[in-house]
Amino acid sequence: MSELLLEPVVAPSDATTRRRSFLGGRAGAAALTVASLVALVVGIAGSPLPLGVRLAIAAAGAIGAVRGARILASDIAGHPVDVGFWLAAGWLLLLLLSAVFADLLPLGEASDVSKTLLEPTLVRPDLLSSHPLGTDRQGLDILAGVIYGARVSLLVGLGAVAIGAFVGGAIGLLAGFYRRGLDRGVAILSDSMMAFPPLVFLMAMVAVLQPSARNVTIALGIISIPSYIRLVRANTMTLAKREFVLASRALAADDRRILLREILPNVVLPVVSYSFVIVAVLIVSEATLSFLGLSIQRPNPTWGNLIAAGQSDFDQYPHLVFGPGAVLFITVFALNRVGDRMRLWWEPKSR
């Protein structure tokens, strides 16, 4: 009887100690981190190994390095540290800074073919050379293309989100607050916008207007409006019923004050964390449009048109696609990661 009672109590504690000793505290974590980083470098930096094996080594190295760093950082800080989040935030910061200061960086030529006549073409990636991500068929530098492409991606993504959040937010705020006829009209409008296939809308837009960064931004902004209307409208409806709105009304606040002072500050938080996800979606959308030739055209580089240009040589020169593809993937992943974390930060406070 007593053994039966004891067993479940002993088992988990036993398991935890075994796990502890396996990782061996700080020293073990440091060893894991270093070994994983070495694997990562071996995987990335050119070596005679076949590409598939190198990718596998690099992926294993990346996962191990994050795990090791998390244990190490948590141990040093004394509380759990979300290393993945900080890496994601660091990546976004790095991307932002290199896009802003691209002109000052010692990069190869990214768009003007006349300047690359003497450059070697189709160079494979070598992180230590002057073309870290290699060059394409015209000798244009892939890393430079990716960084100048980041300008387009970030500009279009952030710009479109700004349009969507501002217009959709304003409409959602009014519809959720005043309800009645206005709300019904807005619901029909946003539902029909959502029912309209976005790709068809974008193609029609590009067919009529120039496929410039500005026009693509506006088009993607319009597409993101209905989801912002829904988000803000739903939040406003619940907030408008809260007692603090009643309380400020009892102090004779008018509708404008209640909307701007009481409800808007509460709506901003979910809108910002949602925007991280939407920026990621719009960056992918822009890349898709570029890939299809419906956005900014070659020779101006974007992530999408770099991938499109590289696809004909993909079987021999996969770096043409993998370079910009990996940057796109990591960026979208990082945006989602940061957005999730932001939501967790803000939620308990708004309770």
Partner: protein, 351 residues
């Protein structure tokens, strides 16, 4: 000649549209309030006491209206006929309200200072620094330590009792002459309840405030008010000086409420008596007295003819046929007819 009462409510009735029906959560309520006087309104949940408060503050929900024929005069003038310029500053500076739940009455994402200075700047046209100065003084007056620091804090950093102090400070910020406190202590710990009620009493004496104290707790209300009205199914069923109501010789409903209160002078193991039946359904009120289905003194007349609020003694109004009859016979038949609850419960304990 009697001076003009500060607040004169005559036949206040509220229509509430729910689904396809219109119900009346408040029916023909009349009362007067002199300067500096405290008036209590007691009733169980759903009796219409909060609706009455909201109708006086003009913050009824969208589906509720004050019915035609109602009138509210403040200082002799009808509040619904105030010129719009005056009306804009009336609520908040003349009449203010303290709400039930301090957890939801404050905006979670704005600082205490921002929320407190809004009405000061709007109604009193104070500068930002003067408003902060005054807000800090108010916080000090309601008993918060470090008032300057509190201004920069968010509501979640304060305890429930501290938040209710902030809510009271906000209600008093523009020097109102009348404060409506709707269950100001219901959401608080018992130990804090007493402090908040003492604070309200102090402030009332200090500023010669008139106050309407709304609660479901008859004992609490009678200790802190000059006069009390007992509300049932939207009507006042008894209205008298607090001590007279607390004596429990008026309306059978009041007597039943008093019986359901725990008492120190009762023998231990005494069972509390609950009121039989359920609160009335406002959609289908009986033709006669609303309390008749739950009243043990009810006869055929009670079930058919609605009793009016009539005087049974000096300054003591009761809406009950049986009490009226007893009063006419110059005796308290009601009190005699009531069997002793303690005796009965002891029998029940034995059985």
């Amino acid at each position: 000649m009697e001076p003009t009462p500060l607040l004169d409510v005559v036949d206040q009735t509220v229509d509430l549209v729910t689904g396809d029906q219109t119900i009346q959560p408040v029916r023909s309520v009349s009362f007067q309030l002199r300067r500096g006087e405290t008036f209590g309104i007691v009733g169980e949940s759903g009796s219409g006491k909060s609706m009455l408060a909201k109708s006086l503050m003009h913050i009824l929900p969208d589906n509720a209206r004050v019915a035609a024929g109602s009138s509210v005069r403040y200082d002799g003038r009808r509040v619904d006929e105030l010129p719009s310029r005056e009306a804009r500053h009336f609520w908040g500076t003349k009449m203010a309200m303290v709400f039930q739940d301090p957890m939801t009455t404050l905006n979670p994402v704005r600082t205490i200072g921002a929320q407190m200075t809004d009405p000061l700047r709007y109604h009193l046209k104070l500068s930002r620094s003067a408003a902060r100065e005054r807000a800090a003084d108010l916080l000090a007056r309601v008993g918060l330590s470090e008032p300057k620091r509190r201004l920069g804090q968010h509501p979640h950093e304060l305890s429930g009792g501290m938040r209710q102090r902030v809510v009271i400070a906000m209600a008093l910020s523009c020097d109102p002459e009348l404060v409506i406190a709707d269950e100001p202590t219901t959401a608080l710990d018992v130990t804090v309840q007493r402090q908040i009620l003492d604070l309200l009493a102090d402030l009332r004496a200090e500023r010669d405030l008139a106050m309407v104290l709304i609660s479901h707790d008859l004992g609490l209300v009678s200790r802190h008010t000059d006069r009390v009205a007992v509300m049932y199914a939207g009507r006042f069923v008894e209205h008298a000086a607090s001590a007279a109501v607390f004596a429990g010789e008026g309306h059978p409903y009041t007597a039943a409420l008093l019986d359901s209160m725990p008492r120190f002078d009762a023998p231990s193991h005494t069972r509390l008596r609950s009121i039989e039946g359920r609160p009335p359904d406002l959609r289908a009120l009986p033709a006669g007295c609303s309390f008749a289905p739950r009243c043990r003194y009810a006869d055929d007349r009670c079930r058919q003819e609605r009793p009016r609020l009539l005087p049974v003694g000096p300054g003591h109004d009761v809406a009950c046929h049986r009490t009226e009859e007893a009063a006419a016979g110059a005796g308290t038949v009601l009190a005699l007819g009531r069997d002793d609850p303690h005796e009965l419960s002891i029998e029940q304990e034995v059985g």
